[in-house]
């Protein structure tokens, strides 16, 4: 019996002693931190994705608390709702940023862009891009090896096995920018999501001369500048044989989409156009020639 008592007493004493030491140490070495940082952090989505530009939610929270204003500070994952809450805690006003979404600027599927050789290396876009321009005639286009899919923490981008191109899942994408950084060919861009998720963009990054680009891919941008001429808002610039639509100036009028001879400009989530009867189309064509 005494053995049991001694054992219990000894272990109990060691336990209590250790607890005491731990308490004292935690008090002595405690880091004084502004309690608002924790409050702000609690409103954040805790994805630690880096989309805000800071390494993790804790760092973003600290940056918000220590900043004079919330200008330039935005959590793309939490969006307006989160930034409003943060603003409320800090007594500031949240800046309204337009919701953005990742856009893949390449439509070179296996059908449109024939494969000319077999890539047998590691399935990694950065490694393949260091080796050569890819297994098609377009050195700029998507390699389809999935670095973007690997980098996404929201399961929002996947390589379609039939087209070998990445596709963005709209309701999951938070525009954190991870896929943009992962793509070695700068094919993915963060663009404004647009009202009713409508956007127009040039789905090509090929800078070769028109004839070369078209030979490699049916839907390449050939830099013919018809879109630039058609745009009433001066939103389109042509540089290095490639057209680019500035989404601040674009008013989604869709005029450029119609005139593009290679169907390189894509319009998403628009209602279908009214079909013009073939006779009228022919008249239009003759009139324009």
């Amino acid at each position: 019996m005494s053995v049991i008592l001694t054992a219990v007493a000894t272990l109990g004493a060691i336990g209590a002693g250790s607890a005491g030491i731990l308490y004292l140490v935690s008090q002595k070495f405690k880091v004084e931190e502004d309690p608002r940082i924790q409050e702000v952090q609690d409103t954040l989505p805790a994805a630690n994705c880096g989309g805000c530009g800071f390494p993790g939610c804790a760092a973003f929270a600290a940056a918000c608390v220590n900043a004079d204003s919330l200008e330039g500070l935005n959590c793309p994952v939490g969006g307006e709702v989160t930034m409003d809450r943060v603003a409320a805690i800090l007594g500031q006003t949240a800046t309204k940023a337009a919701k953005k979404i990742a856009v893949v600027r390449c439509s070179g599927t296996c059908e449109e862009r024939p494969r000319l050789n077999q890539y047998d290396g590691v399935s990694n876009c950065s490694i393949a891009a260091a080796l050569y321009g890819g297994d098609t005639g377009c050195s700029f286009g998507c390699l389809g090896l999935g670095d973007c899919e690997e980098s996404c923490t929201f399961d929002a981008i996947h390589i379609n096995p039939l087209t070998l191109l990445p596709e963005v899942v709209e309701d999951k994408c938070t525009a954190c920018g991870a896929c943009v950084r992962a793509c070695p060919k700068d094919i993915i861009e963060l663009r404004k999501q647009g009202p009713k998720s409508r956007r127009i963009y040039v789905s090509c990054v090929n800078k070769d001369k028109g004839a070369v680009a078209k030979k490699a891919c049916n839907v390449a941008c050939i830099g013919c500048s018809k879109c630039q001429q058609a745009c009433p808002f001066e939103a389109i610039t042509i540089e290095n044989n490639l057209a680019y639509i500035d989404d601040d100036k674009c008013r989604l009028c869709r005029k450029c989409v119609v005139v593009c001879p290679t169907h390189s400009i894509l319009e998403l989530h628009f209602p279908p156009r009214k079909e013009t009867p073939p006779a009228a189309k022919e008249e239009e064509a003759i009139a324009n020639a």
């Binding site: 000319l116 050789n117 047998d120 290396g121 590691v122 990694n124 950065s126 490694i127 260091a130 080796l131 050569y132 321009g133 297994d135 050195s139 070769d208 001369k209 070369v212």
Partner: protein
Amino acid sequence: MLKSFRIGGIHPKENKLSAGMAIQPIALPAQVVIPLSQHIGAPCQPIVKKGDKVKVGTLIGKSVGFVSAQIHSSVSGTVLKIDKAMDASGYKRDAVFINVEEDIWEEQIDRSEALVTECNLTAKEILEKIAAAGIVGMGGATFPTHVKLTPPPGMKAEVLIINGVECEPYLTSDHQLMMEKSDEILVGITLVMKALNVQRAIVGIENNKKDAVALFTKKVKAYPGIEVQPLKVQYPQGGEKQLIDALTGRQVPSGALPISVGAVVQNVGTLFAIYEAVQKNKPLIERVVTVTGKEVQRPCNLRARIGTPLTTLIDAAGGIPESTGKVISGGPMMGKALASIDIPVAKGTSGILIVPTLEAKRKAMKDCIRCGKCVQVCPMGLNPTLLMNLTEYEVWDRAEKNAITDCIECGSCSYTCPADRPLLDYIRLGKGKVNGIIRARKN
């Protein structure tokens, strides 16, 4: 005991199918495409335009900056255009397209075969002629030679090392050049010794080229200061740092240049080009290329003008075999697999290796079994399996601490791995990323 480098190394099958094949010239093509970037450093600026007439040896591209090399026309004819063309880099880059008309050379070039041993130029004048001729490292690295032969302030060369090793399997262009042009190469060596102001030169030759060892041992007797050292047949004996270790016992420290241990290494092909440049006023416009492969009809060593399409060379060797899987520019260890054979011969094209389909595909990779064989063979004393892991998980600070930037990309690790892991692919990626981080830190 033959000398050799002290850490790591492998011994792949030598397959010197084209050994002993005399260097043959090939017919001029109808058009040459001369890339404006055939060297390490900034690409050249073209100084010709569409319609200009050029002769063999006419300057067509001016170097930009100090680390750069000039480019000359390798044919006579009319400039068709300056446009983007696919080259061995895997991307389209600017090149000069010239339609070939006859074979007229610039007047100052001495086309005779007579050996010229006398040289009354100063060291500075020799370097200027080398720069003017656009000479770059012909072993494949294509580093501008006049830059290499200009030690940074405070450093001095003590010994010139001549790389006659050709440790890559299949390639024989250097071997054949050593057998046929030994006198010219030796004169080239004396010129470089004068340019560097060194009294000692060592010619390193792998012991699988016994005839070259014998020939050079006999000939250097006439040249005090030059010695010949046969070396153990091991890869990568011809790697610059490994060669210096084998011949002088000094190991170039991490991040330093060979000149910091007093050594300058030059390939025998470069030395031959230097001889032609200084003694014959001939700029770098052609080189010896080995065309080889197990199914190639006539493995051979061809002398080709820069800009000749590879198809011309492959046709001279019997045409591209039916069973071709890969076409490699260079050797099987460090050469670059090509996506198309419609690319031109460049200054660094040491060989064309055609690999049959059955041997061309990689096996599926398995998990690392921690056997440590990659660590044993790495000639730079690195831990390849660790570096691959660190790259996959993007742990750049540990990768830097584990000297990922020391990797010479020789491929011994991937060659050895029993689990078929693509070690070098990832290490190359990691090396690029860490170098980028280091550059950004310095700015």
